[in-house]
């Protein structure tokens, strides 16, 4: 085993994930029909049993300024878990996550307040990020421009919006603060081509302002066109970390094997890729 000592890389660290892991404790409401003892029946009377799921094995990662990190992996691989941990919404079961500021997450499902209008949602969202009323009014034109919504649409309550419209609005609101760390979870897949271009431009802007962006997507094209680094997470483990071109290609081969039911070849590829990964360890330096 060799140890590679590396000096400071270019860019300041923005996000440092230090051996963070996640074990879910899930209550399952189950209706079992097979034979059970009386005791099991009594215990099961509430209909809830508890199981532990290791969603993410200890993982270390450093993300620096100006990086747009694509996150790929099959369903249930642990990508979303990692993103939730980054925002602080899900505390790691072990390990710690450090960041220069609290990451802001964008997801398709996180609608704002459905009963109030688009305009009011802009105000509410901006105020929720800590702006003053004046700052909100200054930002409003740019938010509207990024969202691409018309004035008449903005006067409607959010429940009248399509999912694409509300995720566009949410993207526009969430990026209006110029967040240092932005996490985008599948949000782009719902937008049309025009919005995708606008999003790309906005992501590039944020990166240029010494921030970093995480992009979770199943669209390998989106990852290739919008990111400059890509990590692949599979079965709760970091498998690959590198150029988007290379990582997406390997990942594509893996999914192809799995789709063709060539599980053995897939497992071999996964194991070989994992072997080649250089594990990262965080060495803290005191001032």
């Amino acid at each position: 085993m060799t140890t590679v000592e590396k000096p400071f890389s270019q860019g300041q660290p923005v996000v440092v994930i230090d051996e963070a892991s996640q074990v879910y404790t899930v209550g399952t409401a189950s209706v079992q029909t097979e034979d059970r003892t009386l005791w099991q029946r009594m215990r099961g009377a509430t209909g809830v049993s508890v199981q532990h799921v290791e969603a993410l094995k200890p993982l270390s990662l450093v993300v620096r300024t100006g990086e747009a990190v694509g996150v790929i992996g099959t369903n249930g691989s642990g990508k979303s878990t990692l993103m939730k941990m980054l925002t602080g919404h899900l505390p790691p079961s072990s390990g710690t996550i450090y960041a220069t500021s609290t990451p802001i997450m964008l997801g398709v499902n996180a609608a704002l307040v459905k009963t109030i209008s688009g305009h009011d949602n802009i105000t509410l969202g901006c105020l929720a990020m800590g702006m003053t009323r004046d700052e909100v009014e200054n930002k409003r034109p740019s938010v509207i421009e990024i969202s691409g919504l018309s004035e008449s649409a903005l006067r409607l309550p959010l429940k009248a919006y399509s999912s694409g419209m509300s995720s566009r609005l949410q993207f526009a609101i969430a990026t209006s603060m110029d967040p240092e760390i932005l996490i985008i979870d599948e949000a782009l897949n719902t937008g049309d081509a025009q919005f995708r271009d606008r999003t790309k431009a906005r992501i590039d802007e944020l990166r240029a302002q010494a921030g970093c962006v995480f992009l979770v997507s199943h669209s390998l094209n989106t990852i290739r066109s919008m990111t400059n680094r890509c990590i692949w997470i599979e079965q709760g483990q970091l498998v690959m970390d590198g150029e988007p071109e290379v990582v997406t290609k390997t990942y594509w081969r893996y999914t192809k094997f799995m789709a063709q039911k060539k599980y053995k070849a897939g497992a071999q590829l996964l194991a070989a890729t994992k072997e080649a990964l250089i594990e990262q360890k965080i060495a803290w330096q005191m001032n």
């Binding site: 085993m1 060799t2 140890t3 590679v4 590396k6 400071f8 890389s9 270019q10 860019g11 300041q12 660290p13 440092v16 899930v26 450093v62 980054l86 925002t87 602080g88 919404h89 505390p91 996550i97 450090y98 960041a99 609290t102 990451p103 802001i104 997450m105 964008l106 499902n109 996180a110 704002l112 307040v113 009963t115 109030i116 009011d120 105000t123 509410l124 969202g125 105020l127 929720a128 990020m129 800590g130 003053t132 009323r133 309550p157 969430a174 680094r229 990590i231 970390d241 590198g242 072997e275 080649a276 250089i278 594990e279 990262q280 360890k281 965080i282 060495a283 803290w284 330096q285 001032n287």
Partner: protein
């Protein structure tokens, strides 16, 4: 960068040690100190005001009668109680101006109950907002209580109007102005209780069922449709009654609006202690759960 010199393929099990200077990094998802937290809540006051105002408009749009229900609901309840307790069971016997007595009981009870029931759901009912933005979560129960206060304004005007027109007519005096500080304290009391309940509900969602039950029991125990005089021979019951903050609110309101009297200083003291106690305990309890509120229910 993972893509630079160090990532050239090499033998298995390599470990790369990355030197990190911790100076401008902080842990994600940890709550600030209590005082910093309260300062943050204050900085988000615009959010509180806007949130409560926009929700009123949004809520009213659901029912065709909209805000009218705020007035209709306590009036219908009051009418039902008058029928059952006033006429059928006769609990109002010996109470001077029972109709107005009942109206004050029902309206004031409703303010506290709707505020704490809504306040207890401050986090669980706002998941999307909580997961989308990182604002101090205490702003949500505060906004809900401000909203409930604004909504009740119409109900209070109706209540005072009814007292003024339903015979026997009560003299309108300067003491009626004392109603304002009473409502102010009631608002703070509701807020303190909401903060405690909101935390409990996020930890244990089943508690919302208990809140529904608890508010019902509390109604029967708070002398809304009977007088405390009936317990004059039972000092223990009387002690409990006098220690009940909701009874204090009702009794003080009745003193100033109906009986042209100054509220008993003892009531101010009891209600004030409950309010201060709940506000302090509530903010600390709520703050302690700050980093847990964005988590998903599993």
């Amino acid at each position: 960068m993972a893509t630079d010199d160090a990532s050239t393929p090499s033998s298995a099990g390599d470990i790369e040690h990355i030197k990190i200077n911790a100076s401008n990094l902080s842990k994600v998802g940890f709550r600030p100190s209590f005082w910093t937290y309260l300062k943050q809540v204050w900085e988000f006051r615009h959010f509180i005001i806007f949130d409560s105002r926009s929700r009123i408009a949004g809520d009213a749009a659901k029912d065709s009668l909209g805000q009218t229900w705020l007035v209709l609901n306590p009036i219908l309840n009051g009418a039902a109680y008058f029928l059952v307790f006033g006429i059928m069971l006769g609990t109002g016997r010996g109470i001077e101006n029972f109709v107005a007595y009942l109206i004050i009981g029902v309206f004031m009870y409703r303010f506290t109950v709707s505020a704490i029931v809504a306040g207890s759901k401050a986090i669980s009912g706002n998941r999307s907002l909580v997961t989308a933005f990182n604002f101090p979560r205490m702003t949500l129960p505060i906004a809900i209580n401000v909203r409930e206060l604004m909504r009740q304004m119409i109900a209070f005007v109706t209540m005072i109007g009814l007292i003024a027109i339903i015979p026997p007519l009560e003299p309108i005096s300067w003491k009626w102005l004392m109603f304002i500080p009473i409502v102010a304290i009631q608002f703070l009391f509701n807020l303190g209780l909401s903060l405690v309940l909101a935390r409990i509900v996020t930890v244990w969602n089943d508690f919302s069922h208990i809140i529904t039950f608890g508010t019902r029991i509390w109604m029967y125990l708070s002398a809304i449709f009977y007088g405390v005089e009936r317990f004059e021979d039972l000092p223990i019951v009387l002690t409990f009654m006098y220690a009940n903050p909701l009874f204090c609110i009702l009794d003080m309101t009745r003193d100033v609006l109906l009986y042209d009297a100054w509220p008993d200083p003892m009531r101010w003291l009891v209600l004030g202690s409950w309010t201060v106690g709940l506000l302090v305990a509530g903010s600390i309890i709520f703050w302690q759960g700050e980093e847990t509120y964005g988590r998903e229910e599993r």
